[in-house]
Amino acid sequence: MDLSADKQTVDGADGALIEVCVEYVAVLKEQRGADEETLCTAAATPAELYAELTARHGFTLRPERMRVAVNACFVPWHVSLRPNDRVVFVPPVSGG
């Protein structure tokens, strides 16, 4: 676990900022250079959060090819994010 990841603030157009934790795996972890970070965001949904993070970190995976989990449950991309949610963006799997 990378505890050195700095907290960062994302400027939102409106709405309150919330603090969430994002876990990165596989190719996303490599592209981010960290396996986890806590950040404040105005993103209302995982879809908005991924778009913000992609703009910042240059992720090459398109969200249409991924799933997302919040608090250990797979959820639709448009669910509402809540403070202290733990978000995992799940790249296309390749086990076995």
């Binding site: 795996v25 398109r62 090819r65 989990a69 296309p92 799997v93 390749s94 086990g95 076995g96």
Partner: protein
Amino acid sequence: MFRFEISDRPLEPAALEARLHRPDVGGIVSFVGRVRNHHQGRAVRELTYECHRVLAQVEAQRILFDAAGRFPVLAAGCVHRIGTLPVGEAAIWVGAAAAHRAEAFQACSFLIEELKAWLPVWKKETYVDGTSAWINCAACAPVGTG
């Protein structure tokens, strides 16, 4: 016994299969996936597997219970390796036990196909030439294109 595990140590298929033994079991079908030395024409040196332990357990239990609902299996299990594996090493073991062989074959086939499709595990291939690539992610188009 419907159990899923992640292991960072070499798999022992015989010992894993023994977990499925019950007096009412008449057939056990197991599958072992091993590291292959080639992929899409490229010479592979080793694979590195990574998983999300919590999500992998969630998905594996869902798939195991799904199999139990579809087929009259009496026991089933799966163990997936993580870490860097050389060619020939076992990466995944799947086993299904039933009263008769047909159900055991069906359940085992169902399990490996579903696990490969959904289990939050990712593999990175390292090739003999020293390059490497995440499988299913290497050719991803940048966001906003296409």
